[in-house]
Symmetry: C2
Subunit: 353 residues, 2 copies
DNA sequence: TCGGGCTATGTTCACGTAAACATCAGTCTG
DNA sequence: CAGACTGATGTTTACGTGAACATAGCCCGA
């Protein structure tokens, strides 16, 4: 009844999927003409093209991508090496990468690395060697890998996302420093004497840059730089840090290096009965969807993962399709989103009245 | 200085990456022997194997996956068609799929579909046709697609995740009904007269099953079934629903269909001054990492995305590697995680004293 | 009217791999 | 000690495609 049935009524059950030759026979043309139609090349008569298309539909022809790749030397496929897919930012970035790649006619192959140890990374890269990719994006935050000899197959275009600029490859990243400065200055503008910081893990380059920029901003404004509390991006770590800070009455402003830790801080402050923002102001970083529904809604630094993904893909494809390997790095701007978790500094701590 | 340099000192700059033939020449064996070493086949002398391996290293040989796929007919690559990558559950599932696939020696190709409209889906599937995949996983929640003629290339193994069982393919899913029952009964056990429900969007099959199971549980226990408030999984929707419910004093127990909506509910209850859990108990679904840091920490239904991903991959690979296409569906159990957002029903609403 | 150039189409071939088959030297068994 | 078997290796070939080249019909201007 279906078209497929008609195709198989020839007798012998055809197991293999139809090839160009089958279509050519069906349409009464040469294989080359089928190829031309299939790849959308010009110089094919309108009639012939239609006849070929009809034959393709009838036989259910679909081009064999392996043969095509073997012949043409490229796969229209991009690899993504990523650590901890389960992080909010990485996922959003991956999403926009996938969409941008699809729009450009490329597909995405995921190469997960569970632990950013040298061994695992090497394995991932060697697996990559057998992968059918035209280029690779590396989403990596551990700068422990800087010193490691990340040895990618020579000639394979690479773009690094959100990481150290110390690589030999082009880098696309959010402007971490700007974001941290915006957050810190926002709190200073509200009259707080200084700002406490809960940072991401030590091995994270993003965390490092947010921390440095926070400290620098305080120094620029002539404020004391409190000791950093080091977290690991998780809300649990934020909670622990929050408990610590809640116990100290001089703390009136906290800048958490991401929203999840900010969430933990909020919980700790609630538990200890310190009002937000009346007693303590909290600012996060990321602007994840949920932040606006935190209690109270979180003031945070919005970063556009979409734009990072878009830039990454376009940069990579540009390089793949012949542009000279530009070492230009893209820095995506951030934006402060003020909500209810930050407010004027309380009167008392100034304590000079 | 490096090995690569030695390989190119022959004179002519070799642009193409080395093939089996190059390795064979270097090692003084036939191409077939190189192939045997490369694919780990037996019947190769230890000496010969080492010689070939050395030649491979020296030349920097890496097998051409396109040629390999063309010859062998399979790609060791699985496609994942997914809608809204940006959803918490989908991402976690994808993560575990990627890890499980990597462990089995398969890679993952992402085929994103931005909007689950028929048109977009058709496009995704036709793009898939040109994709080099041995099988496909579909992570889909819109059962609007049930009626649509999802026409996948015939003979391509498929496993559907987290969706309607009305498909002709094997399905792996969380036991949504059990989870909703656990949540509802937990609240009833705490003495609440009934449980209000904020569901996911109407087109979502998961949402539908949670809603049905919630209603059924209430009925089984002889409780009235309140009107459902329909959300869209977002914390914003939860907030709006929460405002609505906070205004009604008879509401003492709320079961939100996911944690994000539960977060919005908590915010609304805080804003309206209804204490959690003293006045109102809230239970979510998903057990995302942040739930434990909500204020108060959220009682929720834990679902194991990891296990869903693992089962999906193993089921698919089984089918690819020759097992008869089993229509067996896997149902992954859930678990109630009791935290601080649920507690005994307040005295007054019983109002019969 | 003729040839140059253009368009539509066909023919040949190579891409790199692995399956199928062929060969050859040992090794074991009766 | 012959014949059968085993293990190591080589030879041939086809997988499906698209580039390069070849051919043939046609239009146009001199």
């Amino acid at each position: 009844m279906t078209v497929a049935d008609e195709a198989t009524d020839a007798g012998q059950p055809r197991r293999r999927s139809p090839s160009m030759a089958d279509v050519a026979r069906e349409a009464g043309v040469s294989g080359q003409t089928v190829s031309r139609v299939s790849t959308g090349r010009p110089n094919v008569d309108e009639d012939t093209r239609n006849r070929v298309l009809a034959a393709m539909r009838k036989l259910g022809y679909r081009p064999n991508s392996a043969a095509r790749a073997l012949r043409s030397g490229h796969f229209r496929n991009l690899g993504v090496i990523m650590f901890t897919l389960s992080s909010f930012g990485n996922m959003r970035t991956l999403d926009s990468i996938a969409v941008a790649a699809a729009a450009a006619g490329y597909s995405i192959t995921l190469i997960p690395v569970q632990h950013p140890t040298q061994g695992e990374v090497t394995v991932a890269f060697s697996r990559l060697s057998e992968q059918a990719v035209d280029g690779v994006m590396i989403i990596i935050e551990a700068h422990a890998l800087d010193e490691a000899d990340i040895e990618l197959p020579p000639g394979l275009p690479v773009v690094v996302v959100d990481s150290s600029a110390r690589y030999q490859y082009p880098v696309v990243d959010t402007d971490q420093a700007e974001g941290a400065r915006l957050a810190t200055e926002h709190l200073l503008d509200l009259g707080h004497d200084t700002v406490w910081h809960i940072s991401g893990p030590v091995h994270s380059y993003s965390a490092e840059r947010r921390r440095e920029s926070w400290a620098e901003t305080l120094t620029t404004h002539g404020r004391p730089v409190p000791d950093v509390i080091v977290g690991d991006w998780s809300s649990e770590a934020g909670y622990r840090a929050g408990l610590e800070l809640a116990a100290r009455p001089e703390v009136t402003a906290i800048f958490a290096a991401n929203d999840q830790m900010a969430l933990g801080v909020l919980r700790a402050l609630h538990e200890r009965g310190r009002a937000v923002p009346a007693d303590v102001s909290v600012v996060g970083f990321d602007d994840m969807d949920e932040s606006k529904s935190f209690w109270p809604p979180l003031t945070t630094v919005h970063q556009s993962f979409e734009e990072v993904g878009r830039h990454t893909v376009s940069q990579l494809i540009e390089e793949i399709e012949g542009a000279p390997p530009s070492s230009v790095s893209v820095l995506v701007p951030t934006e402060l989103v003020v909500r209810a978790s930050s407010g004027p500094a309380p009167r008392h701590p100034t304590a000079d009245a």
